[in-house]
């Protein structure tokens, strides 16, 4: 059985993205164990000169290293990823590289009709940056629009079409994780590029 991290892409107390990950966690419990990870407590990233990262971040990085993959669910603030998620990813790529070659699936929920489409496109670009270099599942988008109306009181998605779509994507992700383990040829150089990436050695 696979083990995944479900990264909640916001620091908000109430979040339909958290709800979506909780749904995924329980709906696919026979296929994978999923641990939800919060980003709320992290300080604002400020490129500390001694390259130190907070203990919380180190623990998060360790868990991501251990996991087979990461599912990130992002809201959309101002056409982009929330600052709090960008902040978490900045910390998680500062002298530590838990995302390099890590399989990642992106989901997102929004109150309106677009379902965080633009934030997801940004997130793909961000995860492609040299210090992150995640293996993002291609051609897969899960946009949950009108998310306040999307769940019933038992936290189940009410639209069977959405559930079917998510089941398809999740089954693909499990295969994608295995596929990625075969994509070893660039791994060495990816890792090296991330480690060599330095703000100062120019």
């Amino acid at each position: 059985m696979k083990h995944f991290i479900g990264l909640v892409g916001t620091n908000s107390d109430h979040s339909t993205n958290r709800q979506l990950l909780q749904f995924i966690q329980s709906h696919f419990r026979e296929h994978a164990t999923i641990e939800l990870m919060e980003i709320k407590s992290l300080p604002v990233f400020n490129k500390p000169e001694d390259s130190s990262v907070p203990t919380d971040v180190k623990e998060m990085a360790e868990k991501i290293e251990q996991a087979d993959g990461v599912i990130i669910s992002t809201p959309e603030y101002d056409h982009a990823v929330p600052a709090s998620l960008m902040n978490a990813l900045n910390w998680l790529s500062y002298g530590i590289y838990p995302f390099v070659d890590k399989p990642v699936m992106i989901t997102g929920a929004s109150y309106g009709t677009l379902g965080s489409s633009r934030a997801q496109a940004h997130l793909r670009q961000i995860l492609d940056a040299p210090e992150l270099k995640a293996r993002i599942m291609p051609s897969s988008e899960f946009l949950l629009a009108h998310s306040l109306q999307a769940f019933n009181e038992d936290n189940q998605l009410v639209d069977p079409e959405q559930i079917e779509k998510l089941e398809g994507l999740f089954a693909d992700f499990v295969i994608f994780v295995d596929l990625v383990t075969q994509l070893v040829h660039a791994h060495g150089s990816n890792k090296k590029a991330a480690e060599n990436f330095s703000w100062d050695n120019l």
Partner: protein, 395 residues
């Protein structure tokens, strides 16, 4: 023209900060640039609204008062810094100071890209409905390999880059004029001002006739106001009331305080009305602003207060040539704000600054060019704010 320059990084060493500081000094003939930092702004969290804290409100006020904004963005992980994104989230949550504000994007990065991807993201973010800035199209300024670009005095060394940047900034100044002309047309009329003070605020001393000649004495008795050698704790210091009076009396200008309820509360009374640049008499203190101005100038008074209260202007200045060529008299109506940025009234200071100019010219050997035209009108003629609109003892 006044711009705010936002340093898009909270790092201690930032080349984007250097870039803005360079722009500020190198192109000071084009505009005035106030370089602001974002490091005191907390991480945005919609469950913990901190819109009304000092750092966010100060930035809000500065942006509202500026003609345009220049944002210098670094690139972290192919996008803008989390710190800058957090600031933009605060500025699009409960308040929207960037709405219809002309914005220009510049950016510097250590590598070749010069923050190209971050700049594109930033454009999309500034276009979002809650932000709604008007971003200057085209005219990208990408400063790559930035560590090689500045000399030890933080000056850009490449003359072509300096020339190119000048061209882009000149276009931005034109762009700001264009946008402001578009926006001026649809500016909402501002709410009426209560010049007769029919309402009270927290600090109003109630049950004393505001028009009374001895309002000060009556009001002081009412609230047991301290005086004489009683100590008052201030930010930052302690003075007695006598010392405060001595201090304010020594200011080389006529100072007047009107609160945000449009009540005239104080002036630094040192001279009789006939010796003042704008005449005041002790009995006027306490008046609603309508009572200490002539009827014909109340529209101008209202216009000035509306500008200051709304934040459209931080200060309204009027030069008053009627004192003749021997004086350079300017009436300044400066908006006052508390730590949270709330409008708190007008600090009106009136001075003849010719002695300062004369001294400066003598010290530096510089000379004023052109004739001093004592007959020219006040600069705010459109709104009828002229020499006659000041508070007047003859009203």
């Amino acid at each position: 023209m006044k711009f705010v320059g936002i340093v898009g990084s909270n790092a201690e060493l930032s080349y984007n900060r250097k870039l803005l500081q360079f722009i500020k000094t190198q192109y000071q003939d084009l505009f005035e640039l106030d370089v602001v930092e974002i490091k005191d702004i907390p991480m945005f969290n919609q469950s913990d609204d901190q819109t009304n804290t000092a750092p966010i409100q100060q930035l809000n006020q500065k942006i509202l008062a500026a003609d345009g904004v220049i944002i210098a963005t670094p690139e972290h992980n192919h996008t803008i810094s989390a710190g800058l994104k957090s600031v933009l989230e605060w500025l699009s949550f409960k308040i929207h100071p960037l709405e219809n504000k002309p914005v220009m994007i510049v950016g510097a990065s250590y590598y070749d890209q010069g923050s190209s991807r971050a700049q594109l993201h930033l454009r999309q973010i500034l276009d979002a409905p809650g932000v709604n800035a008007i971003v200057m199209p085209g005219n990208e300024f990408l400063l790559g390999k930035v560590k090689e670009k500045f000399d030890e005095n933080d000056q850009l060394t490449d003359t072509n880059t300096v020339k190119f940047l000048q061209g882009v900034l000149e276009k931005f100044v034109d762009f700001v004029r264009l946008v402001n002309r578009l926006e001026a047309r649809k500016e909402e009329p501002l709410p009426k001002e209560d010049l007769y003070v029919t309402d009270t605020i927290e600090t109003t001393i109630e049950c004393v006739d505001m028009a009374a000649e001895d309002w000060v004495e009556q009001a002081a008795a009412k609230v047991n106001a301290v005086e004489g050698d009683t100590y008052v704790k201030l930010n930052r210091g302690i003075l007695t009331v006598d010392q405060i009076n001595t201090f304010l009396a020594s200011m080389p200008m006529e100072l007047t305080y009107a609160d945000d309820n449009n009540q005239f509360l104080y002036y630094n009374y040192t001279k009789e009305a006939e010796d003042m640049l704008a005449d005041r008499v002790p009995g006027q203190v306490g008046n609603p602003l309508a009572l200490c101005h002539p009827e014909r100038s109340l529209t101008s008074v209202e216009w000035v207060i509306q500008q200051l209260r709304s934040g459209r202007q931080d200060v309204v200045r009027v030069h008053v040539p009627t004192h003749g060529p021997d004086k350079f008299v300017v009436h300044n109506y400066q908006a006052m704000h508390d730590d949270e940025g709330n409008y708190k009234g007008i600090n009106e200071y009136i001075l003849d600054f010719k002695p300062i100019v004369d001294w400066y010219l003598q010290q530096t050997g510089l000379r004023l060019e052109g004739e001093i035209d004592a007959g020219s009108g006040a600069s705010q003629q459109d709104h009828g704010v002229d020499a006659g609109s000041g508070a007047s003892a003859k009203a």
